[in-house]
């Protein structure tokens, strides 16, 4: 189960890398629905998650992590 602190960090990262407003609810965001979620933003998002949660994300996973729920689930499976 992800801690509140980790979840809060993850949401802050998603908002910042996708340039969403500070009060945006990001818990349901998905790549096709967010214009700013382009390939460069995705790279920044993956790097930020790796750095913040000390994980190394494989290329196959990077391609799959295109929604907040998927990222959250991925991190939970890695004990974050």
């Amino acid at each position: 189960m992800m801690t509140d602190e980790a979840e809060s960090k993850l949401q802050e990262i998603v908002r910042a890398t996708l340039e969403l407003p500070a009060d945006a609810d990001v818990t349901g965001v998905r790549q096709p629905g967010v214009e700013s979620w382009d390939s460069l933003a995705h790279v920044s998002l993956m790097l930020a998650i790796e750095g913040e949660f000390a994980v190394a994300i494989d290329i196959a996973d990077q391609i799959q992590l295109t929604s907040y729920p998927a990222i959250r689930r991925y991190l939970e499976e890695r004990g974050v």
Partner: protein
């Protein structure tokens, strides 16, 4: 520096002189932007970075350098040997001599750009040769070429194959901040003057453990178990001292306590007392001790490096003495190699003279009689606010009180009276109407666990108040007391006694209750404490489950 920290640095940056440079690498450079801006902001500079288009480094290298542009190259093995680029897969066959020749030719092109600042990331190579040993030798030869050009070597772990294949960015998220720091440092100008003095913390830096709490036998600095990292760090310090670096130590402790491990009878440390020009122990601001040390040594503060594991201490010295280079001792083994590399790179010595070897003895004579002073340090309010501290206060009169009782019985420094209490004694106090509180602390540096315990007798006297010294300087004790006196039936006094180790508590008590006159019950004025320390309470998000 991770993403959120970089964001905070950039958003809080007030502006400064521009730091303009071309950042050249053969992969994708754009993900570095935020981290480069943050690293420059940390130096008071506004990064103005230009990149090469993707995969154009080889062409750019063949053009003449613009003498007005600062160039920083982050080089990878395949910048010398394109066949070794992972993104091209594994070649069916390679001509070893042709590879070597092309690498040498590329090195010649770099040699024509003497003003370029080079960083080399020795990423692993794909299997190029039938004989693996030849591949390893080739990788080493590329590294030698880069070093021969004056490149600074980065840790190979910084390379992330997954990210490189996915996006072309060769550095992973756990390293990108550190690599950006190295890039900005390279862009910032000529290599800085070597530092002269390394001031190190002791607990959990020179050794593992808290000596005042666990005693000399409880600390570890041997090449095994928890002491291994500290053994390696001591090894580096010993080498630096031999090369002429002046070592000093500052610690929040009593002088006699911290000296014990250095004495030959202890025999467990690589470093001896005489390896240091001063070992300063006390409970006042570390910045004040360092400033005084600099004056006594007649050395500029910009020649000092300070190493500490506690982010609050690092912040205090950084704020009070911005010229001092502060380096955080890593919390985990993963950070050790980069930390040692950073420290070693601050003290480069191309040759060692007899004077270098005698420097410590010379400065020790200059510092005879040096004692810790009691000057104030930096105002940490803003830093503490930024820590986003959460203090959760638990009523331990009900339920599990094991950690609270443990704290009462193992804490030496921040301890009201040094009294040890069994669980039965605590229960008897509670059965008679007493109260027991515990407090846990978390902040953006992590979860510190249960760090405070307070037992209040039925008559309102605080019988026990202890706090882990790991969280000194965060104003937890003041905030807790201000909270406590605002509760129904506030406490009326402290059962105070001086011990050989509780000087930090004495300092606290003097501030909340005025001058102390011997042992006994020290009266507490709740209204005064609440008013005086309301600002400390405001530093925390307070919770009561």
């Amino acid at each position: 520096m991770n993403f959120l920290e970089a964001r905070r640095l950039v958003s809080g940056f007030q502006g400064g002189p521009p730091l303009s440079f071309l950042f050249a690498l053969s992969g994708t450079a754009e993900p570095f932007v935020l981290y480069l801006q943050a690293a420059a902001a940390r130096r008071g500079r506004a990064a103005d970075v230009r990149f090469l288009p993707f995969n154009t480094l080889a062409q750019a290298l063949r053009a003449d350098a613009d003498p007005t542009v600062t160039e920083v190259f982050l080089l990878l093995p395949w910048d010398f040997a394109p066949e070794a680029d992972w993104r091209s897969g594994v070649p069916e066959a390679v001509d070893h001599e042709a590879l070597r020749s092309r690498a040498a030719e590329t090195a010649t092109l770099f040699a024509r750009r003497p003003q370029a600042r080079l960083l080399y990331l020795p990423a692993p190579l794909p299997p190029l040769f039938p004989d693996p040993a030849r591949g390893a030798a080739f990788a080493r030869s590329l590294e030698s070429l880069a070093v021969g050009l004056g490149a600074r070597l980065l840790p190979a772990d910084a390379f992330a194959l997954g990210g490189y294949l996915a996006s072309g960015c060769p550095v992973g998220g756990t390293w990108i901040g550190k690599v950006a720091e190295a890039v900005v440092e390279a862009a910032s100008g000529a290599p800085p003057e070597p530092k002269k003095v390394l001031v190190t913390d002791l607990d959990n830096v020179l050794w593992s453990g808290l000596i005042a709490e666990e005693g000399p036998e409880g600390i570890a600095c041997e090449p095994s178990g928890p002491g291994y990292r500290h053994f390696i760090y001591q090894g580096l310090l010993r080498r630096l001292r031999r090369e002429g670096t002046v070592l000093a130590a500052v610690s929040r402790n009593d002088p006699d306590v911290v000296l014990a491990p250095f004495r030959p009878a202890g025999g467990r440390m690589l470093l001896r007392e005489e390896d240091f020009v001063a070992i300063i122990a006390g409970y006042h601001a570390k910045s004040a001790q360092i400033r005084e040390l600099a004056e006594r040594l007649n050395l500029g503060l910009d020649s000092f490096v300070f190493v500490d594991d506690n982010p609050v201490e690092v912040a205090e010295v950084s704020l009070a003495l911005p010229d001092v280079r502060c380096v955080a001792f890593p919390q985990h083994d993963d950070g050790l190699a980069a930390f040692l590399d950073e420290v070693a790179s601050l003290f480069p010595h191309r040759e060692i003279t007899a004077e270098d070897r005698e420097r410590t003895a010379l400065y020790r004579r200059r510092l005879e009689g040096f004692v810790a002073n009691d000057l104030q340090g930096a105002d940490l309010t803003r830093f503490l606010q930024d820590l986003k501290m959460t203090l959760t206060i638990h009523d331990r009169a009900r339920g599990d009180r094991a950690r609270a009782v443990q704290l009462i019985n193992k804490t030496n420094q921040f301890n009201l009276n040094g009294r040890r209490l069994t669980d039965e004694q605590v229960r008897a106090t509670l059965d008679a109407g007493g109260r027991l509180f515990g407090a846990t602390l978390a902040d953006r540096t992590g979860d510190h666990g249960e760090i405070l315990a307070c037992l209040v007798a039925p008559d309102g006297t605080i019988e026990s108040l202890v706090m882990s010294c790991r969280v000194f300087q965060r104003r937890v004790e003041y905030a807790f007391l201000a909270w406590l006196v605002a509760q129904p039936n506030p406490p009326t006094g402290f059962r105070w006694a001086s011990t050989a180790r509780n000087a930090p508590f004495q300092q606290f008590l003097s501030q909340v209750a005025g001058p102390l006159n011997g042992a006994g019950v020290v009266r507490l004025e709740p209204a005064t404490v609440a008013a005086r320390h309301a600002s400390d309470v405001a530093l925390f998000a307070l919770h009561q489950p």
